[in-house]
Amino acid sequence: MKHAVTYMTNLLCFCFLLILFTLLSCKKFVALEPPADRVVSATVFQSNETATAAVAGIYTQMMATSPFFSSGGMSIYAGLSADELLPNLPTLAETEFYTNRLQPGNGVVRLDFWLRLYKHIYQANSCLENLAAARTLSPGVKEALTGEALFLRAFCYFYLVNLFGDVPLVTGTDYRVNATLPRTPAQQVWAQITEDLKAAKEVLPQTAPSGKRVRADKWAAAALLARTYLYRQLWAEAEAEARAVIGSGKFSLVPDVNAVFLANSPEAIWQLAPVEEGFNTTEAIYLIPNTTITARPLYGITPQLKAAFAAGDLRASAWMATKTALGRSYTYPFKYKVKYSTPSVEYYTVLRYAEQLLIRAEARARQNKLEEARADLDSIRVRAGLAPTPVQDQASLLAAIEQERRLELFAEWGHRWLDLKRTGRLDAVLGAQKPTWQPYAALFPVPQSEILLNPALTQNGGYQ
């Protein structure tokens, strides 16, 4: 017993000394390895696989299950702001879009647009900075990823500058710089978009990895560049880019209008793939009403849009549907037809061939290449089951193209709202349809909370 106690005390003294000794190396004790469930930047951009994952993460973030700007928000909210959709069960925020009386405190504008767009921009910027510094990636991978990040950044700024006008142009990741940036003039933002897309086009591969169209390739960059030139009214450049895409031979119009939005459709230039198991598109979930007899679609097609379709237009029957609830019938967009399925059969189409044809038609018409313009327009009309356009002069042709864009691209990524805005026709068109229309509503308000958090930001005219 006594021996045992002596032994224990010696052991204890030894332990104590051991611990005191280790105290000397306590600096090491509090230096941790990075956590197992996360990866640090230095590691992420060391291997091709993880660097790819960092860029691919932007697509996952874009493909949310709520209608954020990139997962149905542009179609729905810009559709409400324009003359495409009306809210059947309006929330306060939706009413503000529909009546073009957005309050600077509107939560959708801040959380579903402003915040989401800048989140993607941060990730793209972070990828670009890290890729530039990366030394161990395969050259092909590094270039392609740089191209994708540039493309995605340009894509986000395209919507920011269109919706808000001047916006802070954030191109780095240092929050101390970014937090106090004021709004950059829209011209500079447009220039940045153009530069990014040109650079992206140079380095992106001809075909996106895996052969599917769910990640940006060279043609996605060219297609968005064509649209950018069109918006900047650089007609020749717009025509050239659209021609390159159309002439690539990789895309074609799908004869059956019901098959346009299917996964890997030949018409798709870039689609977002669903990330949730069993999901298709968020748009399908929000636009298609459920089957209970009282359920109304959340958003209906406006009577004006419905009336704009000519008799026999295949798009009217394939891309719109009607549901009767409590004795009243409601028409709603039906481009996406499947809410849930495993595997997913519909992908969320962002850039498609038909738009390139319409871009080229408009760019050509503006340059007075009327015959060629009409050919492009007619290919769209014929697919829709309509006769070739009868119009002859430039002005009528441009009007016909505007009308065709309205019908072909309705409830799709807010095309109508952005078209009316870029052509200066908002006041004429919406002024005639909406009694509450005010010209200042062409731009969304900068979110109130953001102005409170960054006093360098200013508000758009009309919202003070």
Partner: protein, 997 residues
């Protein structure tokens, strides 16, 4: 109380003619010599010779006279008084008895114990007795109202609900402001953070499953709350928010005791908010349409057309009107002999809920304490271990969308006995279906600790303690197909979650004690090594086509989410303390710690903290004793020091990426947070001064303390504009924040006769929080949130000037007179939310075999009212949602002066538009003061006569009540947690029997 004992007068009785001188020894109750005791002779006319005992407790007095009185006194002991007569012989051994006064109760402090008398710091305490009077499942709720400066708020009345604890105000803006919890020297791995990963009916308002549900209150000997710098600086970086030490029970030497305790009781919800009945609801809907100028049709008001408007279901009564039952059983075996003590105990607690259905919380616990400290050996050791398992069965849904179901909603069951979902084609949320969404959590908590000590030299001890705590939670939730509307062809889904938290700690230390003459010196030096790890896993499975398969992950057609977390926290420190007491009057306490924490970036991991405390027991001064004889105890103390806070989450300095869902077959990553390798320790400076007074032999004890805590460069989640890609970043906050206040504690013994005793304990806290400075606030993201010179909880908002009597819509003050109402231009300061004062008053009365205890807590405060919930959570009165009856005070016709604007249901209406201003206004805040009869306990102790006959050591019958009565003018559910649609705290009544063999 004042009984004196001489256990041994070791003098033989003979000879009476010796010259009178006396020598002897003064010892304490354990027979150990008492150094520095005063031995004096009192004569009728003057004081005689005096002496002080030496290191061995010996003294000699000469020149004594017959009939002198010998007085022996030492601080903390009852004075010994004995007349010298013919029987008095030298040498004499005087045994002094500790004063039986709460001043000399043992108070547990960091790495040791002290007494209230000699403490230089501020330590609040509740004892096992205080806890045993309250029928509580969670030990934290026993603290409510009992410790000045401590606010304890229960998130709701469902078993397992989390309880937030805050000491001396909001110390941190956004980061953890919970104190550090230490159980028997081992940091509790989950601290006081909710441990659930899945949501359940506990999740309202950011609350969750409390980790303290796994701690049996009956196992606790005492809970100490360390408040000021003196008490907490030795915890360094973890001490900024205070420290709560939980000490478990130990065995005592003596006869082996076997004790049994059983109690059963029932509970009802307190103050559930009454909701509109069908008639009131229908009138509200019609009024809303009329006010909006909209004609109700089957499309916009289907509830008015498709449902039977004569039906009425009181969903509040259905959901909250039930009775919960509790059963508690406790058994313990304790005892010990020469140097060895043991305690074994086991507990069982079962509690159901007031919700309909077989929901419950069951806890089983075991604990063990063994100590071996042989009297003359150098080595001693102590082992304690406790294990508890808790099974919590609740619902995987919140209450709010159940309570707001319109009162004329369709019948809950179809005539066939199935759950009903619709009437006339209009569906509704069948509350009974929600109750079918199951949730269960199994928690396991194992805490163990070994402490070994070795006396190297007399006075010098080497102590090493090792602690290990593992906390595991295993959760599962199911949404079965039959709990969903079949018209929507639903699929079943299931979720699993698990957390595994672990902490180990090793603390070797050296302790030295020197006692010589008037000097008493204690030195402590030690080091800490601590590692926490936290692993979590959660998986959601969806698409089940059969409810029978919901328990199987393999049967799931799809995975809806999956995530894991894995974090580590390493902490190391070296600490020391010097404590010097001179003459039992002057006390100095110096403590310090050098800390290293893995939560900071390289180069910023170490920091130094320290504190100085001093006290003067002026009642020991002769002039005080002579001039103020009624003052039996008086102490002035003060402390100043620094502590830190590293509760900022792990790895915030890393530029880390998390794994997202795969995209097109590729793994994906996204940035976890903005990273900032620059942030460093925040500094929290605490200053305290206090006066402690005892009158009339300490029958009245009063403590008044004043504190001032200032924190600068606070670590916060600094809000950012979202153009940075994020909402916030962990950074040092440039502002200086102060928490100051007064705390008072009064303990009185009002009556103390043999058969009747009456004592009162009261405490009061007057807190105040202030943002002292914030350079550059105008251009910061906080320009519209905080105001310099105001509390952080300032209501800097639009001000509601009432409801317009003409239009019935809320009106707001146009503070800048520019003609429009806008944030932040029209923001004004309208007071602040939070308490102005709070406290508790308890009375304990003992009469013969009876004892009764009453405890009232009170709080004067401003809080969020029902209007805040209705308008900020878009539950606008007038919509197709039921409302609390408070909304009946709405505007109806021009000229009405009301507190609630008119009903509305159309988003384009002017009344609806006012809602967005209302959210940024002070309108949702109001008086939330209350007084609550928190505890009532009445016990009957069986008479010794009966006990002898029954061969028992003790037996007691008792009745206890909790939350029996609440007095408040608050508009809402519970004034404490201010959650309108959560389960209110319960009113509980139990009865039990305790017997000891």
């Amino acid at each position: 109380m004042r009984k004196l004992l001489i256990l041994a007068l070791l003098c033989p009785i003979f000879s009476m003619c010796q010259p009178l001188s006396v020598n002897g020894k003064v010892v304490n109750e354990n027979g150990e010599p008492l150094t520095g005791a005063t031995v004096a002779i009192q004569r009728a006319t003057a004081m005689g010779p005096r002496a002080t005992t030496d290191q061995n407790g010996n003294f000699t007095l000469t020149n004594l006279q017959l009939h002198d009185t010998l007085l022996v006194s030492a601080v903390g002991y009852e004075t010994f008084r004995e007349a010298i007569d013919f029987h008095f012989r030298s040498p004499v051994t005087v045994q002094l008895i500790r004063k039986i006064s709460s001043l000399d109760d043992v108070v547990v402090i960091a790495y040791g114990t002290t007494t209230r008398r000699f403490n230089t710091g501020n330590v609040g305490r509740i004892s096992a007795e205080d806890i045993s009077r309250q029928p509580v499942q969670n030990p934290l709720s026993a603290l409510e109202g009992r410790i000045p400066g401590l606010t304890v708020v229960q998130s709701g009345g469902l078993p397992g609900a989390s309880i937030s604890v805050q000491l001396r105000g909001q110390a941190s803006l956004t980061q953890g402001s919970e104190p550090l919890f230490i159980i028997d020297g081992v940091p509790f791995a989950p601290n006081n953070n909710s441990v659930n990963r899945l949501s359940s009916s506990l999740s309202a308002g950011g609350a969750g499953l409390s980790p303290f549900s796994t701690i049996n209150p009956a196992d606790i000997e005492s809970i100490e709350v360390l408040k000021d710098a003196d008490a907490t600086a030795i915890y360094g970086s973890r001490g900024a928010n205070g420290v709560i030490l939980i000490t478990t029970k130990r065995g005592r030497e003596g006869k082996t005791q076997f004790s049994l305790n059983y109690a059963a009781g029932f509970s009802k919800a307190t103050r559930p908010v009454p909701m509109l009945n069908t008639e009131q609801y229908l009138r509200m809907r019609r009024e809303a349409f009329a006010g909006d100028g909209v004609v109700p049709t089957v499309q916009n008001a289907p509830d008015l057309f498709l449902w039977d408007t004569t039906r009425y279901t009181d969903f509040r009564k259905l959901l909250l009107g039930g009775t919960a039952y509790t059963h508690t059983a406790q058994a313990s075996l304790s005892g010990g002999s020469a140097g060895t003590t043991f305690l074994l105990s086991g507990g069982y607690h079962r509690e159901t809920t007031v919700l309909p259905g077989p929901l419950s919380d069951v806890r089983g616990s075991l604990s063990l304490h063994l100590a071996h400290a042989p009297a003359h050996k150098r080595f001693s050791a102590e082992l304690s271990a406790s294990y508890a398992a808790d099974r919590n069965t609740l619902v995987n849904a919140g209450l709010s969308n159940l309570l707001t179901v319109p009162p004329h909603a369709p019948a809950l069951y179809t005539p066939e006995g199935e759950l009903n979902w619709e009437e006339g084609g209009l569906t509704f949320n069948n509350p009974l279906a929600y109750l079918e969404r199951s949730y269960r959590a199994l928690s396991h908590n194992l805490t163990s600790r070994l402490q070994a000590s070795y006396r190297v030299l007399p006075g010098l001890q080497l102590i090493s303690s090792f602690g290990y705590n593992v906390f595991r939670v295993d959760e599962a939730a199911r949404i079965p197909i039959h709990a969903q509307n079949p018209a929507q062809s639903p699929r079943g889904s299931a979720q699993w979650g698990g957390s595994h938290l672990q902490s180990w700690i090793a603390e070797p230390r050296l302790q030295y004690q020197y006692r010589g003459g008037k000097h008493n010196l204690e030195l402590l030096a030690g080091s800490t090594f601590q590692q926490n790890s936290n692993r979590g896993l959660s998986i959601g499975a969806a698409g089940y086509d059969s409810d029978a398969l919901l328990g199987s992950l393999a049967a799931a057609p799809g995975i809806s989410f999956r995530s894991n977390t894995e974090t580590q926290y390493h902490y190391t420190a070296a600490f020391g303390r010097i404590r010097y007491i001179r003459d039992g009057k002057y006390i100095l306490n110096l403590s310090g710690r050098r800390d290293g924490s893995s939560r900071f970036g390289p180069g910023r991991q170490f920091a130094l903290f320290g504190a100085l405390g001093a006290a003067w027991v002026f009642s020991e001064e002769r002039f005080v004793r002579e001039q103020l004889p009624f003052l039996s105890y008086g102490k002035l103390r003060g402390s100043y020091g620094t502590t830190g806070n590293d509760q900022i989450g792990d790895y915030r300095y890393l530029d880390a990426w998390s794994v997202g869902q795969p995209y097109g077959g590729t793994t994906t990553l996204y940035p976890s947070n903005l990273y900032n390798p620059q942030y460093s320790w925040e500094v929290n400076k605490k200053l305290e001064g206090a006066l402690e007074l005892g009158f009339f032999q300490s029958r009245v004890l009063l403590t008044a303390s004043w504190f001032r805590n200032r924190s600068s460069s606070q670590l916060v989640e600094y809000t950012l504009p979202s153009q940075t890609g994020f909402f916030s970043i962990t950074d040092n906050f440039p502002a200086l924040i102060e928490n100051r206040g007064w705390e008072f504690e009064l303990n009185t013994t009002n009556v103390a006769t043999g058969v009747f005793q009456w004592t009162t304990r009261a405490n009061l806290t007057v807190p105040r929080n202030e943002l002292l400075s914030f350079p550059g606030i105008e251009t910061s993201p906080y320009a519209a949130t905080y105001v310099v010179g105001q509390p952080l909880s300032v209501l800097y908002r639009l001000r509601v000037s009432g409801v317009d009597p003409a239009t019935g819509v809320f009106l707001f003050e146009d503070a800048n007179k520019n003609g429009t109402i806008q944030a932040p231009g029209d923001y004004q300061v309208s007071g602040f939310a939070g308490p102005r004062l709070f406290g508790g008053v308890g009375n304990t009365i003992r009469f013969r075999n009876w004892d009764a205890h009453f405890f009232v807590v009170f709080k004067k405060q401003t809080g969020a009212t029902y209007l805040n919930t209705l308008y900020t959570e878009s539950l606008v009165p007038g919509a197709m949602l039921n409302q609390p009856v408070y909304v009946l005070d709405r505007w109806q016709r021009p000229g009405d002066q009301t507190g609630v604007q008119r009903y509305t249901t159309t988003p384009s209406s002017d009344a609806y538009a006012a809602v967005s201003h209302f959210r940024r206004s002070d309108g949702g805040y109001g008086d939330a003061s209350f007084a609550r009869l928190r505890t009532v306990s009445v016990s009957y102790h069986f008479s010794p006569h009966f006990l002898r006959k029954a061969k028992l050591q003790a037996a007691r019958l008792y009745v206890q009540g909790q939350n029996l009565l609440t007095l408040t003018g608050y508009k809402g559910a519970d004034p404490e947690n201010q959650l309108l649609y959560a389960m209110p705290p319960l009113r509980t009544l139990t009865a039990g029997l305790q017997i000891t063999f």
